[in-house]
Symmetry: C2
């Protein structure tokens, strides 16, 4: 699993930071979370093919999180995208995507897509490999945060299997499915020859003031990606514009069994954005400040 | 007068080239021609304040020329833009801008603006300093090219004035307006003490196949900015997608008393985009290949 940050700015872009977006690549999926203006170019610079995006998740409809959508869809269309793009977002997303496409369908083809609006907290997608949860946030307009939960996997202990001389084939299939086996008249429990590997969890706290749902997103995350527009020095601005501070993001991580915290969505007011990182470090040690094109492997 | 190229890509952006846009800065005006996705960030990187944009000219509604408009308007709004943005474009522009704003007005304020649709060739704007012309192009959808014409100016010959001892004041004002003056009982003709300086002309041939209107835009340009998506090797692609080739752009310049030609809107298919430049040079010598953030002073 790999996370690639494509844009880490807050509201207005800077020379160093493009508008909000990151990709979570897992098996055949490239999940794009938010799609601020310029995302299609960032995707190309990051060496990812736009037509490989499989699902798009929209946290809210502020321009800095969505204005890259029509351009990305057009570029996917001219890149032989042959599938259906699934777009998940808060209430209003269906109408907004429809209106955007109404404008541009006059001038170019629109790729096949389906919009799924998320209106309640909890799991909204599940397959054999992972599930996705969404939780309402509080940012003045309809806003949701996301949580990617990889399923636990049973892994065969290859050295034990070799030692015992168990051949490849149906016996290993049984073990993989957690079933006990019999080999050369001896019974082996699945738990002896396999082990459960915990699936990874990645949470994304998009623009919001502090709410208890931040803790639900953060709980047990291997990686928590959180907006962190301001330092506590600008608590007033954070409240006015409905954002959390670096200290609050760190405190959420601290309370929620988070392994690693990545801060993003940094206000351009800080000439040295490390002030954000330094503040968070006082509360939560394993924290980094995301930058455009940062990759994190899990 | 200064021209700043903000985006010089064709259809899809590359690491080096953002989507179409350039600014012509003249006196208090910052005229933005096209506004592809990412333009607001390019404007900031170029060191220009987004709130200083005075007029926006849209050549046509393909995404790579317009998808930066809503983001730019939002950023101008959050940058204390206190004027009215004038937006000029082909038929359909009013409805498209209205629909874009309908989507985003739910979530943030929209700056004051006025859309003026241009439906016939010729002059569509004039003030004391310059006029603007538009000419229909042929790109499959409604498309126009633009021409900026600075008015000729009468300049006082300062060294002659000093030699004669003519003081600052109403006499110089008269000369500036082309009127003859009397000083110390001697009459001086305006043409003796002033000279006419030709205004500069800048043309912009946006996406199009060759049409006679390309020549109207190019005629007498000090600087002709022309799309040049392909080399002649890809004449078939140029015809299919309704673009001109480097050779055609150079030939237009060659026939039209153009001083300098700047090629832009370069297809990403050329690993070395200098092939575009080299082809044009065979027909027209004073040609350059524009790159993002190139500035040309006139």
């Amino acid at each position: 699993m790999e996370i690639t940050f494509l844009g880490t700015a807050c509201m207005q872009p800077t020379k160093e930071r493009s508008h909000s977006a990151f990709i979570l690549s897992f098996e055949a999926e490239n999940l794009l979370f938010d799609c601020g203006e310029g995302t299609q170019r960032q995707i190309k610079i990051a060496g990812i093919k736009p037509a490989k995006i499989t699902k798009l998740f929209i946290s809210h409809w502020h321009g800095d999180h969505v204005l890259g959508i029509p351009g990305l869809m057009q570029t996917m269309g001219s890149s032989q995208f042959a599938k259906k793009l699934l777009i998940y977002g808060p209430e209003g997303t269906k109408e907004n995507i429809k209106k955007l496409n109404e404008i541009f369908a006059k001038y170019s083809d629109i790729i096949e897509h389906e919009v799924i609006e998320i209106s309640k907290d909890g799991t909204f997608f599940e397959n054999d490999s992972f599930s996705l949860e969404a939780y309402k946030l509080d940012h003045g307009i309809e806003t949701i945060g996301f949580k990617f939960i990889e399923k636990d996997k049973r892994r065969i202990n290859v050295s034990k299997i070799k030692k015992l001389g168990i051949p490849e084939g149906p016996l290993l299939g049984k073990l993989q499915n957690g079933k006990n086996i019999k080999f050369k008249d001896k019974e082996y429990k699945a738990d002896e020859l396999t082990k459960i590997v915990d699936g990874k969890i990645v949470g994304y706290i998009a623009d919001t003031v502090y709410t208890s749902n931040c803790l639900k997103i953060a709980e047990d995350c291997d990686l928590l990606i959180s907006e962190s527009s301001f330092t506590s020095e600008h608590n007033d601005k954070a409240e006015q514009y409905k954002h959390i501070t670096a200290e609050q993001a760190a405190s959420i991580a601290n309370q929620s069994n988070v392994l690693k915290l990545a801060l993003t969505h940094v206000s351009q007011r800080y000439k040295d954005s490390n002030v954000i990182l330094e503040e968070a470090k006082q509360t939560f040690q394993n924290v980094i400040l995301a930058h455009d094109f940062l990759k994190i492997k899990l």
